[in-house]
């Protein structure tokens, strides 16, 4: 697999605020790449730079083979963006919106029509083509936004928090569309999110906070590295269990009668259970989640 986005030392400050302080990462062609971080971590600023909206203060990047800063128009024709906010015209119908925005890509009239039809089909926006964008529901708008981003069949699709503010079912639908684009079209998907369960489905994740890359890897690698599995035990006799755990020099915390015992791997829990089986009233083994990774790395809950 080849690299489609390559970022080296990218930085941007707004006055005294260092929004992005030198980030490096690569995105593989055809992969689903997630950018995870709390609000204000610098995700959007990084995306704005990669999509030629903002001029970086330092560093360099190539997107789809085009150098940032040298061939911005090349980048612009190779990428599609679904912005966090709706940026289509509320007073125009979806179709009018798509035709206007599609005309930016130097297609002939018939090519444009075909391209719009294709994008509409892929994004599933056919049912409300003739309706004004401003009158659509949140989910329909998102579909229209995605159709807009697909008109020129970009190589890379950027999505800035594509599912924020949508109801769970719509979120699922949008997500399915995104997965399909990646699987069937081989499109590279670059998304930012602060939903852990979405990030967990990515091929590769970069966790960012305070303008820096904190960690990078597949969801599995990150969980291995930064999340601990947890054995939760409800004993018949709490004192006996405490003594048992101390004897094994295992660390634990107690919350409302339940013992939380961190274990390196879920299997290790078996050893502990074996030695105190008769004292167990109930148990649960929880493997580490992306939430744990996030908490571990940023030291905060997800800042919503």
């Amino acid at each position: 697999m080849s690299t489609i986005i390559n970022v080296k030392g990218l930085a941007k400050s707004f006055g005294s605020l260092e929004a992005v302080r030198g980030v490096d990462f690569d995105v593989e062609q055809g992969s689903l790449f997630a950018f995870l971080g709390p609000n204000g971590a610098g995700k959007s600023t990084t995306i704005d730079m990669l999509t030629t909206q903002l001029k970086p203060d330092a560093g360099e990047a190539t997107v789809a083979g085009y150098r940032l800063g040298r061939d911005n128009d090349g980048i612009r024709s190779a990428i599609g963006i679904v912005f966090q906010d709706s940026l289509l015209d509320p007073l125009l119908t979806v179709e009018e919106n798509l035709l206007v925005r599609g005309s930016f890509y130097k297609l002939s009239r018939s090519e444009l029509k075909a391209a719009v039809a294709r994008a509409v089909e892929t994004a599933g926006a056919g049912d409300f083509l003739k309706r004004p964008y401003g009158k659509l529901s949140g989910g329909q708008r998102r579909r229209a936004d995605i159709a807009r981003a697909l008109i020129h069949t970009p190589q890379v699709l950027f999505l800035d928090e594509p599912t924020t503010g949508l109801d769970p079912q719509t979120r699922q639908n949008v997500w399915t569309t995104i997965r399909r684009l990646q699987k069937e079209r081989g499109m590279t998907i670059f998304l930012t999110t602060h939903y852990m369960e979405e990030a967990a489905q990515a091929d590769r994740i970069v966790v960012m906070d305070h303008g820096k890359v904190l960690a990078e890897g597949t969801p599995y690698e990150l969980k291995e590295r930064y999340a601990t599995d947890m054995l939760k035990l409800k004993p018949h006799d709490a004192e006996e269990l405490a003594a048992y755990l101390q004897a094994r020099s295992a660390s634990y915390t107690v919350a409302s009668g339940i013992f939380h015992i961190p274990v390196a791997e879920t299997v290790r829990a078996l050893d502990i259970i074996d030695g105190c089986r008769s004292n167990i009233a109930g148990l649960e083994i929880v493997s580490g989640t992306m939430d744990d990774v996030f908490l571990h790395l940023t030291g905060t809950e997800v800042r919503a």
Binding site: R76, S103, F104
Partner: protein, 284 residues
Amino acid sequence: MMVIAKRNLKLFFRDRTGVLMSFLSVFIILGLYVLFLGDTMKSNLPDAPEADFLLNSWVMAGILAVTTVTATLGAFGVMVEDRTRKLLKDFTAAPVKRQEIVGGYILSACSVGIILSIVTLLLAEVYIVANGGGLLSAVTFAQVIGILVLSVLAGGSIVFFITSLLRSHSAYTTASTIIGTLIGFLTGIYIPIGSLPEAVQWVIKLFPVSHAGAMLRTVMVEEPMTQAFAGAPEEALREFKLHMGVVFDFGGKLSTMGASIAVLAGTTVFFYLLSIMLMVRNNK
């Protein structure tokens, strides 16, 4: 550029209240005139049956001058809206030239200005004729449209410059209100220039859009004026023209059509250049 201009036009005309608001100052002036300004002004005129025709034509000429500015201003609302809603991001993230976007805004705003001015002109003619006046001849009609176009270009350039400085929607609304109110005074419509103090007269004379007003008056008032002043002394006619702002007095010299055209053309070039220079600087 054409696509963007077409989009802007659609956006403008689909927002009915916006279109109506662009006509607002026209309605206000017309209302004030019908209700009481007309009577005050009539007292300055010879007591002839043509006086109404004359005065109506005069007011309509002024209203047209105002429309060229307010309509164009209303149309630039689309640009301000795009900027404040960060909608421009979607344009700049596509391989479109910045000049095309800006050109699209100017083109659409000027088209709106011209369309609405012509609509106003037709309404004005209906009003004049309904009140016993005569229609403009084909030649004067063409002249009026020519002046309107020129006025839209000049007024548009000023308005474009102002709106390019505005960063929020409320700032734009405020600016629109202020301009809409002031413009009636600045072009000498509410009160004829001759009734104002010397200093204010100079402000009017130096305000480019007044020159569009003067030219429109010259052309539109010509016919009723010769009727109303038939047999009156030459001095009375000159006095009337100066008092009502049909021509301006620059230290004893009277303004000419040629000079007014030059003022408008100069304004257009100056303000567009200024705005473009500012934009280039902001982009760095």
